[in-house]
Amino acid sequence: MKSGGVVMPMLRMPPPHGGRLVDRVVKNKNRAEKIAAGCPRFELKATLDPKGVPIRHVYREIMSICYGFFSPLEGSMVRDELERVLKERRLLSEWIFPFPILFDVSEDDYKALGVKEGDRLLLTLKGQPFATLDIEEIYRIDPKDVAVRTFGTPEKNPEVVRQPFDDKHPGYLIYRCHQPVIFAGKYTIINEPKFKEPYDRFWFPPAKCRDVIKNVKKWRTVIAHQTRNVPHVGHEMLMKCAAFTGDIEPCSGILVNAIIGAKRRGDYPDEAILEGHEAVNKYGYIKPERHMVTMTLWDMRYGNPIESLLHGIIRQNLGCTHHMFGRDHAAVGEYYDMYATQILWSKGIPSFGFDAPPHEVDYGLKILPQNMGEFWYCPKCGEIAYSETCGHSKERQKFSGSFIRGLVSEGIFPPNVIFRPEVYKVIVKWWKVYGYPFVNNKYLKLKAQELEVDVPKLELPKG
């Protein structure tokens, strides 16, 4: 199909980031026993903030690595790789990767374990063997330095960083609260955890997701929707309109990928996020033939442009051709320019290592960005309008997240134009379970204890 000498390409599913999907899950019990027998054990625990509230659990990173969500990453980063990521957002293999991924332990735990480089460590979860870590290197970090360099500073990253990061930023706090001793090396899951309800319905690791897209849904092009929210009608319109992107036709499918893990207080519980999105297709607001809800385990870092790189990697690995990016993507507060992610994906951010957008550099991403404006209610148009189309910006009524949170906490049934009734009922369902409509300290503590999974019993032979 030619137009003025330019060929409109028919898009196909992109290859995984790095060329192949990482699969570090051992399913054969005998092999698993051989791998882990006789190893020193270490029970995984949550990272706590200074007040003792859980803000991260490293098991989520291990899951996302071993099942291929973070391909081509295979484990906790060695020191040189950490430095490369902080300076250029690239792995030692050259492929783009945005965040430090580290297995951190305290000095006391290090001393008690008595392990050295070359040893294999058995990681247990809820008391059961879960994974191994082949320790390639042991080194120390200054957690505050890693936190600052992960997100940038107004001086070093003036294109997009607007104010210095501090403990009020949940992602900064996660790195600031890392333990100082790092064990670097590859993880291998030797005992597959079992997802609890409702998570089990949404667990589509990349290999399975690609298979479902190709062979069950039969989608050729797929646009990814990042979410950490129960969808209001503004989100729904974003999905519907962004999906008109494609090539010779709109995208065949919309893949919602929810980030599941510890979140900031005031966000919605994970169960409500997943089932809220599911309600969008279950009740036909976007028909299920065109809409699918999935999840990734990750304690969100709220890193706006940096986070968008990880989102690109995950969703390319899941098999998506496009990714929608809105204003204030994966953001909290005013640390970054509200358009930082769109700046990255339209012209690059040189101070973060990108002289060009991440899909136009060597060893970059193949997923294509779709930068979107805002959706608001326009009383003059009498409909949900797109910011770049509607000429009544004075009359606009925004879907302010904080306004909607206020409405929800007052127990007012929101009108159909804000929340679909079935979606709101999901919020109330989980509100009744937790006695609270949003993430609070109680929820974070309970979640860190219960997790999204159970780990089957596994007896290992002694060395």
């Binding site: 302010s400 904080s402 127990g411 109330v428």
Partner: protein, 115 residues
């Protein structure tokens, strides 16, 4: 420039302000699907509110949001009592009582009954 606290007027609240001058202050939102009264808050008073409630913030519309339910309820009660929107000083006089109620809101908010 003043900021605002938005008070949603549902059927129950409408009953309480019917026939008062407050009725004229009601604004339609989202095509009339919601009704709201915007209570002006002078800048120095909004600073006091932000200081009293650490989650509170001014959103892009200039509204003070992420405030406790107890504060919003107090704003409505004072509005009804005084039949006026010039009530922020009276609300701030009740701050200790509102802060006490707000603490409990961090742990538990009763869920609404929906079918």
């Amino acid at each position: 420039m003043p900021h605002y606290i938005g008070v949603i007027i549902d059927d129950k609240r409408m009953e309480k302000i019917k026939g008062t001058p407050l009725e004229r202050e009601i604004k339609d939102m989202f095509g009339g699907a919601l009704k709201m009264i915007a209570v002006p808050v002078p800048e120095d008073k909004s600073k006091e509110i932000l200081k009293a409630f650490d989650k509170a913030r001014i959103d892009s519309r200039g509204y003070i949001e992420d405030i406790p339910i107890a504060l919003r309820r107090a704003v409505f009660e004072e509005m009804v009592k005084n039949k006026s929107l010039n009530i922020i000083d009276k609300v701030l006089a009740r701050l200790p009582e509102i802060q006490e109620a707000a603490k409990k809101e961090d742990e538990f908010i009763p869920p609404p009954e929906v079918e």
